[in-house]
């Protein structure tokens, strides 16, 4: 079968990827960006290959981004979401994957609410598996596009101070960013209310080089990059937070905090944003915000990854 990769078969997280492999994907992303800048935004690289997007959890931007990426590489793309598919009839994930295999899928992109689901898929699928976000575990393509965006603007990753602020505990983005950023030599500070982080050593045992903070104003000192995470409003209902008002005061990127940041400090957000909760519109649309660039780069990164896995 042609799909056998000369490198890795799947990308489920960045934890198993070497710095060199990550760099290679970022290089490829440059070329893909070039393709997307052309008048005809399509190359025949994956012609005849079938990519299936399996989205068991709502997602607009990631799904569209993957669809556009696959189409730009001329692959056949099929997308389905849990709603209306056989999953609702009680079909197991394994059955679904075997069915896709039998239907001739070469690659699957999976988004799932359960951490670890992509590993299960990978065990029952002969082609490539790309994780598009699984529970709280990982979101490697988001981390890759974050890395790409930072490097595009600041020319490097190594030595940068990156602050990730918000609901770290429930964030797959934070975990994948941690692997990617630390492996490429950034200094990462996690900043969150204590209930949305857990004990510090749970994090530093796996990522010994990071810092932990519960005070955003201190954490932002000298930051080169601020990544703001989405706060799910359910967290407040689950009793993890006293109130959204207090959360915003302590952890949101407000106009006042924006003032104190350096003009060069990148502002990032994986989306979708709760404006007025974790980030103010003033910060989201500031000249140093790269939130839209993240979305744009997402397509190129996913093209690079599809290409890289197709070998």
């Amino acid at each position: 079968m042609e799909m056998v990769s000369r490198r890795r078969r799947h990308v489920i997280d960045l934890d198993e990827m070497t710095a060199a492999e990550i760099e290679e994907i970022l290089e490829l992303t440059e070329s893909m960006k070039e393709v997307l800048a052309r008048e005809i935004k399509q190359v025949p690289t994956l012609r005849g290959r079938t990519v299936v997007n399996m989205f068991f959890e709502d997602s607009t931007r990631t799904r569209i981004s993957f669809e556009l990426a696959a189409k730009a590489l001329s692959a056949n793309v099929v997308s389905f979401s849990a709603r209306g598919s056989s999953v609702e009839k009680g079909e197991s994930l394994i059955d679904t994957v075997r069915t896709l295999q039998a239907l001739g899928a070469d690659m699957v992109v999976i988004r799932h609410s359960q951490a670890g689901a992509p590993y299960l898929v990978a065990q029952h699928f002969a082609g490539a598996v790309i994780n598009a976000g699984d529970g709280r575990h990982a979101h490697p393509t988001q981390a890759l596009l974050d890395l790409f965006t930072i490097r595009e603007r600041l020319d490097r990753i190594r030595g940068l101070k990156v602050v990730i602020v918000g609901d770290i505990l429930h964030s797959r983005v934070a975990r994948s960013d941690l692997w990617g950023l630390t492996r490429l030599g950034a200094h990462v500070t996690l900043c969150a209310p204590p209930t949305l982080l857990g004990p510090a050593h749970f994090w530093t045992a796996t990522w010994p080089q990071i810092s932990i903070s519960h005070r955003l104003d201190e954490a932002l000192e000298g930051a080169d990059v601020v990544m703001v995470l989405r706060l799910q409003k359910e967290r407040m209902h689950a009793g993890l937070l006293p109130s959204l008002r207090e959360y915003s005061r302590a952890y949101a990127l407000t106009p006042e905090r924006l003032e104190r940041l350096g003009a060069e400090t990148l502002i990032m957000h994986p989306g979708p944003m709760n404006e007025g909760v974790e980030i103010w519109p003033e910060a989201a649309t500031a000249p140093n915000s790269v939130i839209e660039a993240q979305v744009t780069n997402g397509v190129a990164v996913r093209m690079a990854l599809l290409y890289w896995l197709a070998g």
């Binding site: 198993e16 394994i94 359960q114 689901a117 590993y119 299960l120 045992a205 796996t206 010994p208």
Partner: protein, 497 residues
């Protein structure tokens, strides 16, 4: 039928001694135990109804008692039946299993207890004792018919893996049990701390993004139950202790004279939450920010290439598993090495009385799914001995003490006579080779539950023969058969297969 088991190392757990000798079994009871000095007398009396079992190099011990077995029948026969579960027990060297009440229906009335007892008499390969439900339906809302259950022969009360969240109800249940003189077996879990849990809360759960079952959830509930045991005077038996903090709580409670006993499972004594990572490399070898690329993981590669037989003690390698392998999901969850060390210490010093398998067979569909959706449980009867022998091979526990934890310990918890092979005792006997290396193949289990994280692992120590009430209920290959004709037959068997 009369059996003479010859030349084995006989372990007498009640007296904590081992001697080499012979055992004569007749009509279901031990007739004679002779030490090496007087071995030569009886050989000429061999007739047709006498079989000599050659146990040279093997250990002979009283059959094991498992305090904590989920037989699943009635109600979940796709996972296990009394027939398959007790055969698995026999293969694991267990001659008595205590059936957990979380079946459908639960034994919360005498009628269900009698049904299980009748099934066990008809289809069981080993003795089955029934643990009655503590509350109706094990639902933690109202007391079961506890007097009736004790009259029907229940040996303990429990709600299985369901914690009784209502402290007031637990107090009433313990008060009843205390008056009946029957132990209450508890699974300690404060449900307010374990919502949506998938594994132990700690470093690994944080990395994998799985919701945690913190050690504190077990310890908080244990502290409550200890206080209630003191209040009511009940005999509290703590199931599947899994944390260092719980061991410390037990130790101080025992020192105060609280009537409390405890058990630990083979998997909690040997495996950690690191097993959920499977083949993913743990942090320390990869999380190097600036340094050179990670060195080739020397320990793992080295272990892989070495022939397993030469490995001491066992080939326990979590890297054989995929990440998030649902076979590692168990309640309470696999904890950390600190907890494992404390459990072993507690077992050694007597804080923990018994090893119990917590055998929890699951059907494939309950495990072949996402980690957080998988049913917890490990099918443990058939690997229990080999897994705990790891402690002996590592020098962390001596063999006689270990055997006591599978025999004498559970007997004491149940208030039974000491586990001893003496004339007149019921002939419940296990013979095992402590050094026999083997590879776990879950597809060969007698249990319907193939859910084990040990599939493919190399373990040392194998049960060769199990005798329940004088009947051979399990025999590996042709163990113990001597004489040329039989040997020739067995070789031929091999060719004809």
């Amino acid at each position: 039928m009369r059996y003479i088991i010859k030349h084995g190392s006989i372990i007498d757990p009640a007296r904590r001694v081992a001697t080499v000798g012979d055992i004569v079994i007749c009509d279901g009871v031990v007739e004679q135990v002779s030490e090496l000095a007087d071995l030569h007398a009886e050989t000429e009396s061999i007739g047709d109804d006498i079989e000599i079992i050659n146990a040279r190099g093997a250990v002979i011990a009283p059959g094991f008692t498992d305090l904590h077995t989920h037989l699943r029948e009635p109600g979940e026969e796709q996972k296990e039946t009394i027939a398959t579960g007790t055969l698995a027990a026999a293969r694991g060297g267990f001659t008595t299993v205590c059936a957990m009440p979380t079946t459908r229906p639960t034994p919360d009335t005498a009628a269900v207890v009698r049904h299980v007892q009748a099934l066990a008499r008809r289809e069981g390969h080993v003795r089955v004792d029934v643990i009655g439900a503590l509350t109706q339906g094990c639902a933690g809302k109202a007391l079961a018919d506890m007097i009736e259950l004790s009259e029907a022969g229940c040996i303990a009360f429990s709600d299985g893996g369901h914690p009784v969240a209502d402290a007031g109800l637990m107090r009433q249940a313990m008060t009843y049990a205390a008056a009946l003189g029957i132990p209450v077996m508890t699974h300690c879990e404060e449900p307010g701390l374990t919502r949506g849990w998938a594994m132990h809360e700690g470093i690994v759960s944080t990395r994998l993004g799985l919701a945690g079952f913190p050690a504190a959830a077990e310890e908080a509930m244990l502290a409550r139950d200890i206080a209630l045991a003191e209040l009511t005077g009940v005999h509290l038996h703590v199931c599947n202790v899994s944390t260092a903090g719980a061991v410390a709580l037990l130790r101080t409670a025992r020192a105060r004279g609280v009537r409390i006993t405890a058990e630990v499972t083979p998997h909690h004594l040997t495996l950690t939450d690191r097993w959920v990572l499977g083949k993913l490399v743990p942090h320390e070898t990869v999380a190097v920010p600036d340094g050179p690329p990670p060195a080739p993981s020397s320990s793992r590669k080295g272990r892989r290439s070495a022939p397993p037989e030469q490995l001491i003690p066992s080939w326990l390698d979590p890297a054989l598993l995929e990440p998030y392998d649902t076979s590692t999901r168990v309640s309470p969850p696999l904890r950390t090495q600190t907890d494992v060390d404390a459990l072993v210490a507690g077992l050694r010093d007597g804080t923990i009385d018994a090893i119990a398998t917590g055998h929890a067979p699951q059907a494939r569909v309950d495990k072949e799914c996402e980690y957080g959706l998988a049913a917890p449980g490990i099918s443990g009867l058939e690997t229990a001995l080999a897994l705990v022998l790891t402690l002996v091979h590592r020098g962390e526990m001596d063999l006689v003490n270990l055997v006591a934890k599978l025999t004498e310990g559970p007997a004491q918890v149940l208030g039974r006579s000491p586990a001893t092979l003496h004339p007149g005792a019921r002939a419940d006997i296990v013979i095992f080779q402590p050094d026999q290396a083997w590879r776990v193949d879950a597809s060969q289990f007698a249990s319907r539950g193939r859910n084990t994280p040990l599939h493919g692992q190399h373990l040392k120590g194998q049960v060769m023969l199990t005798m329940a009430a004088g009947e051979i209920v399990f025999r590996r290959d042709h163990f113990g058969r001597s004489g040329e004709p039989r040997r020739a037959t067995s070789r031929l068997d091999g060719f004809l297969d």
